[in-house]
Amino acid sequence: MTTTLPTTSSARLPGLIRRLTGDEKHAPSAHSTVDVLQVLYDRVLRVTPDTADDPERDRFLLSKGHGPAAYYAVLAAYGFIPDAWLDDLAGSESRLGHHPDRLLVPGVEIGSGSLGHGLGLAVGTALGLRAQGLLNPRVYVLLGDAELDEGSNHEAIAYAGATGLDSLTAVVVDNSSASHGWAGGIASRFTVNGWTADTVDGRNHEALYAALTGHRPRHPHLVVARIESKG
C-alpha cells in the first residue's frame, strides 16, 4: 500500500503532464514511461529531494531521454523541481529541454538523448558504488525497446551479466517500436548473458512493483514493461 504523500503526488501527475504538453485530449497513459516512473518514485526508489545528493540514495537513470514529459512531471510531483518549470518546456530560459540535462535539473542523474548511453553509465555507477562499499543503493536504468538497436547496449548487457552485477536493474519499456523487432523476445538477450528477467504488463502497477523489486542475488535484473504498440 502506498502512503498518503505519494498517493497525493501520483494524483497530481495528470495535471502536471497537461501543464507540460498543453494536451487536453490524451490521457497520461499516452506517455509510455509514466506507469513505470510512477511506481518507481512512489514505491521503489529510496531517493527524495532531500537525499538527491546522498551517496546512499538509489539511482534512477533515464537512458531513453526522448519524450521526457512524464519524467519531468514525476520530478515535479515528488518535489524535485518546482511545478512552474513545467510551463516553459524547451523555452529559451527553461531548464527543461526535450532531453534532460543533469546539470540543469535537480534529481536527474544523467543527461541523455542520444540513445545507448544510459546502460553503460549505469554499469559504471553500480561498479563505483560497490568499489566504495556502498552496498545498499540500487541502480535503475530505463530504456526503450528500439533503443536496444544501439550496439553499445549489448556491450553493457554482456559485461554486466558476465560479472553478476546484481545491484543493477534495467527496465525496458516495450511498445514494439524497434524497426526490425526482437525475434525471440527482448528478455532473451539479457537472460542468455546471465540476467534474471521479468516481463510484465507495463500498465499494471502491482505487476510492475513486483518485477521492479524482483531482483535476485548475483545477477543483474531486467524488467520488460510491455505496453500497447506505438501505433
Partner: protein, 300 residues
C-alpha cells in the same frame, strides 16, 4: 630502459595502491600487465573486454559516484572509436576522467591505418576547451603528468608514444626554451616527441626552440612572449591541429605560421615509425627542408 607504456603501468599500479579513489578501466589492452593490481583491487581494476564504448561509459559512471577513473587503450580505439562516449558520458555529464592512450600517430606503422590515430588531439579540440592534453616526449615525463592528473577531477588526455626524446623535461607544461636565437629570431615550438628531430633540424639556424608536453591548454602567454614574426609548429599529430590557437593568440600581431605535423592522407604503407616520420616530412631532414624554405621565403 623504461618505455612510456611501462611508466604508465607502474605509476597506475602505485596509484591504485595509494589512493582508494583511483579506478582503472581497460578494454583488454594491457590487461595482463595489470593482473597483479587487479588481484589486490578487484573492485577498482575493471577489464570490460573488447568494448570501448562501455569502457568510457563505465568511466563516466565511476566518476559520477566520485571515483577518479583512468581508461586506457590504443588511441584509435580509446578516442576515435569512443568519441561520442567521451562527448556525452564524460563531458556532457560534467565529469572527468584520465584517458591514457598508446599507439599515437604511427607507432603501429606495421599494423596499418586501423591502429593509427593522427587525429586524436583534433578530436579533443572539437569537444571544447575543457580537456588538458599531455603529450610526453620522454618516459620520465609520464609519472609526474599522470600523478598530477590523478589528483584532480578534470578531464585529462595523456598521449603516450614509442617515439621519444633523449632527455626528459618534466617541467614543460609551459613553453620551455631549449635553444635561444638572437633578437627577433623565429620561434619553433616542438610538442612531445618532436623535440629531438626539431633540435636536429634547426642545428645552426638562428631560431628559438621551445618545447612543451602540454599542447592543451596551449601556453599562449608564453607564445606571445617568445614569438616574433615567424612561428613554426612541429606536432606529432595532424599538421595544423594547433594552428587556430596560435592564430588566435597572435591575432593582433603581424605573424607568419608554418604548421608541421602528420599529413591527412592514409599512406597505405607499412614499414617502421621512422619511415612514416620521413614520409610525413617529420624526420630531421624533412623538418629542416620545410623550416628553411619557410624562413628563406621571408619577404619573398
Amino acid at each position: 630502459m623504461t618505455d612510456m607504456r611501462t611508466a604508465f603501468i607502474d605509476t597506475t599500479t602505485a596509484l591504485l595502491d595509494e589512493d582508494p579513489r583511483t579506478a582503472l578501466v581497460l578494454a583488454d589492452i594491457s590487461a595482463s600487465q595489470f593482473a597483479a593490481a587487479g588481484h589486490r583491487h578487484p573492485d577498482r581494476v575493471l577489464n570490460v573486454g573488447i568494448r570501448e564504448q562501455l569502457m568510457i561509459g563505465v568511466a563516466g559512471g565511476l566518476a559520477l559516484t566520485g571515483l577518479r577513473p583512468i581508461a586506457h587503450s590504443y588511441a584509435t580505439f580509446l578516442v576515435d572509436r569512443a568519441y561520442e562516449q567521451i562527448k556525452l558520458d564524460l563531458d556532457h555529464q560534467g565529469v572527468g576522467a584520465v584517458l591514457v592512450s598508446i599507439g599515437a600517430s604511427y607507432d603501429g606503422s606495421a599494423e596499418g591505418r586501423t591502429h593509427q590515430s593522427p587525429g586524436d588531439v583534433a578530436l579533443f579540440d572539437s569537444l571544447g576547451d575543457g580537456w588538458t592534453v599531455r603529450v610526453p616526449g620522454h618516459p620520465d615525463e609520464v609519472a609526474p603528468l599522470l600523478r598530477n592528473a590523478a589528483t584532480s577531477d578534470d578531464p585529462v588526455y595523456l598521449r603516450l608514444s614509442e617515439q621519444r626524446n633523449a632527455e626528459a623535461y618534466p617541467d614543460a607544461t609551459r613553453l620551455r626554451v631549449l635553444r635561444r636565437g638572437l633578437t627577433n629570431a623565429p620561434l619553433v615550438v616542438a610538442v612531445g616527441p618532436m623535440l629531438d628531430p626539431t633540435l636536429a633540424a634547426t642545428e645552426g639556424m638562428d631560431v628559438t626552440v621551445a618545447y612543451t608536453h602540454t599542447p592543451r591548454p596551449l601556453d599562449t602567454p608564453g607564445l606571445r612572449a617568445l614569438a616574433n614574426t615567424d612561428v613554426v609548429l612541429v606536432e606529432p599529430y595532424l599538421a595544423g591541429t594547433s594552428s587556430a590557437l596560435v592564430s588566435r593568440a597572435l591575432a593582433d600581431v603581424p605573424h607568419r605560421l608554418l604548421a608541421l605535423g602528420v599529413g591527412q592522407t592514409d599512406l597505405r604503407r607499412y614499414g617502421d615509425p621512422a619511415d612514416h616520420a620521413r614520409w610525413h616530412g617529420l624526420d630531421a631532414d624533412g623538418l629542416r627542408r620545410s623550416i628553411s624554405a619557410f624562413l628563406g621565403s621571408v619577404g619573398g
